[in-house]
């Protein structure tokens, strides 16, 4: 014990990035989870590298109704074909993916911040705080989700920020319930009692003693929710309530081109449909793998 690099033992939360890396390392044990993780990583990589990967401007009309694998007038190559307006589908899917992932991540993280705060308060303080928060959550959760989205978006208008707001509004009650349940369980642990008996504040206990121990189930749930938010953003686009055109989003691409599917141009609509399914599958498999791994340890 002569040379310890860490001279201060004060509790420090492990950096998030290290935790994520550790989680990925754990995934070695679950082939299904690893597959899911790879799919998700692939889409994130695609989103980040969109300017490099996408061959053309996603909104540039080049050659309408080109089938996959055909060439354009100036030697363009359409790996996945073009849509009815002549825009390259590969470019649109890649850029659309970036948009979907950006808003899904932003919305999920925001919803988590709200849900965690509410859940910790309700679960730790119980009593009327809990009943009030739970009642509000009950009211929101009593709406079928899509009905709620339609009502909110038609009221406040379709835009990226509004979609994020709607997702936070609709899904933070569910997160709050999970966090509340975990908190109710964790608050009975002796280490929480120990913190109380040494006079720690409620804030410290919630954030330092309870929250870090709830991370396992929350990470699993966050993966599932990322998938679900992806579905939702797509659904809003499909219903014409999504991100405003002409920038591509997957749901919008499906709805704009599906009338041409019967005329032999199914690729226009199938490509974004498969893309959204694959990404969601990735999130779901990843969540399943993480759950399996976290139960085992």
């Amino acid at each position: 014990m002569t040379d310890t690099t860490n001279n201060d033992y004060v509790a420090k939360p492990t950096p998030m990035i290290i935790q994520i890396l550790r989680g990925i390392a754990l995934l070695r044990e679950s082939p299904v989870g690893l597959l899911g993780g790879s799919i998700v990583a692939f889409f994130f990589l695609l989103a980040i590298l969109a300017p490099i990967v996408a061959p053309y401007d996603p909104n540039l009309p080049i050659l309408p109704f080109a089938l996959p694998g055909t060439e354009g007038p100036n030697g363009e190559y359409f790996l996945l074909g073009t849509d009815h307006l002549g825009r390259d589908i590969l470019s649109r899917v890649v850029w659309g993916g970036q948009r979907v992932l950006f808003y899904a991540t932003l919305a999920t993280i925001s919803a988590y911040i709200v849900g965690i705060i509410m859940g910790l308060l309700a679960g730790y303080y119980r009593g009327w705080v809990d009943e009030l928060i739970s009642f509000v959550a009950n009211v929101i959760l009593s709406f079928p989700v899509m009905v709620l989205y339609v009502l909110i978006i038609t009221q406040i208008g379709a835009s990226g920020a509004n979609i994020v707001f709607a997702v936070v509004f609709a899904s933070s009650p569910g997160i709050m319930r999970i966090v509340r349940g975990l908190t109710l369980d964790l608050r009975t642990r002796d280490y929480v009692a120990a913190a109380q008996t040494r006079g720690e504040s409620g804030l410290w206990i919630m954030l330092v003693e309870i929250l870090p121990n709830a991370r396992g189930p929350l990470i699993v749930d966050a993966c599932l929710r990322m998938g679900y938010t992806t579905i939702t953003i797509g659904a809003l686009g499909f219903l014409g309530l999504g991100l405003p055109p002409p920038d591509p989003d997957w749901g919008g691409m499906i709805t704009q081109t599906r009338s041409f599917a019967g005329a032999g141009f199914a690729h226009m609509t199938l490509v974004p449909a498969l893309a959204v399914s694959l990404l969601v599958l990735g999130f779901n498999l990843l969540a399943d793998g993480l759950r399996e791994v976290s139960i085992r340890d």
Binding site: V32, F135, N138, V139, S142, F143, P144, V145, M146, V147, V150, L151, T154, Q155, G227, I231, G234, A235, F238, L239, G240, G251, I254, T255, R258, A261, G262, A266, T269, L270, A273, L274, V276, S277, L278, V280, L281, F283, N284, L285, D288
Partner: protein, 310 residues
């Protein structure tokens, strides 16, 4: 037990009341926008004011809310701006159509999900378990709008087996019901199946199942009598909650296939600010959702002797 029931019903009423007020506030909170919606964008300020007075919109909002609530409870849902007809005339038949779709979906989805879930959960980690788990994760990953497109391409455009639209303009046609049902079942069954599997798998590791096996009763009876009774309590609640989810799903599915149901009506009304239709649909959706939640809660209590006799 009786108190619990009363409490649940009371809670349900309270939630409904709050939801009704929120819906009312969102739609009729600003009377001028209603008047403008009815009279058109070019109406003069005076015209609007006169219209508002004629229709009683000058009263305080709480009074208007209570009056509106009274009308809704007695079945008067107002007049649709878009169709210029009483909302009740359109609303109930649309709700009925959705009921048919929901019933068909549940009739297929629930037994399938329960059977697959129980089979998977009986032997955790077996090949069958892994297969069913991956299958249910896979199908749950395909959103309704994606599977609608995929299934249309296969069954309508390639195989030419089914009609691509479910508008039912020439009366009820069961063939037109198949695709929407398929879409909803595909997306929905996985969740119930996985919940059932988890519940069953958990029950199979309990000590009382060990007791039952070590008591020397036949395996079949262990499953049917000891395991299922406990394992199906949790899925029951999940199934009831799925009604809520189904109402979400029908919005997208009905839109995708042009099915004339309540979800399509709501979407249409919301886009066109047809306030009385929105209010009727919103209330109906929440009513169904809250009712199913309440039934789920009460059912959970009834199925669970630990709570029932306390």
């Amino acid at each position: 037990m009786g108190i619990l029931l009363l409490k649940r019903l009371g809670m349900m009423l309270l939630v409904m009341l709050v939801v009704a007020f929120l819906l009312f506030l969102a739609n009729e909170g600003d009377p001028y926008s209603i008047a403008r919606g009815v009279l058109g964008p070019y109406a003069q300020q005076e015209q609007l004011t006169i219209w508002l007075q004629e229709h009683g919109y000058d009263k305080p909002i709480l009074v208007r809310f209570l009056e509106w609530l009274g009308r809704v409870v007695t079945g008067d849902l107002g007049v649709s701006v878009q169709y210029k007809r009483p909302v009740a005339e359109i609303f109930w038949s649309r709700l009925g159509n959705t009921g048919i779709l929901a019933a068909a979906t549940f009739a297929i989805m629930v037994p399938m999900a329960l059977i697959l879930g129980v089979l998977a959960g009986m032997k955790e980690g077996s090949f069958l378990d892994r297969f069913i788990s991956v299958l249910s994760i896979g199908t749950t990953s395909v959103p309704e709008y994606a599977s609608a497109v995929l299934l249309s391409v296969i069954f309508v455009y390639s195989l030419d087996l089914l009609p691509g639209s479910s508008a039912m303009s020439n009366g009820f046609d069961i063939m037109q019901l198949i695709l929407p049902t398929m879409v909803l079942v595909l997306y929905g069954f996985g969740y119930i199946a996985r919940m059932t599997r988890a519940s069953m798998a958990e029950v199979m590791t309990t000590h009382y199942i060990r007791t039952a096996i070590l008591k020397g009763i036949p395996y079949k009876r262990v499953i049917v009598k000891h395991a299922l009774r406990n394992a199906l309590i949790a899925p029951f609640t999940v199934i009831m909650l799925q009604l809520n989810w189904l109402l979400s799903g029908v919005v997208v599915t009905e839109y995708a296939f042009g099915y004339k149901g309540f979800g399509a009506l709501l979407l249409d009304a919301a886009l066109r600010k047809d306030i009385f239709v929105i209010e009727a649909c919103g209330l109906a959706a929440v009513f169904v959702a809250v009712l199913s939640q309440t039934i789920g809660d009460i059912g959970y209590t009834l199925l669970n002797p630990r709570i029932r006799f306390n």
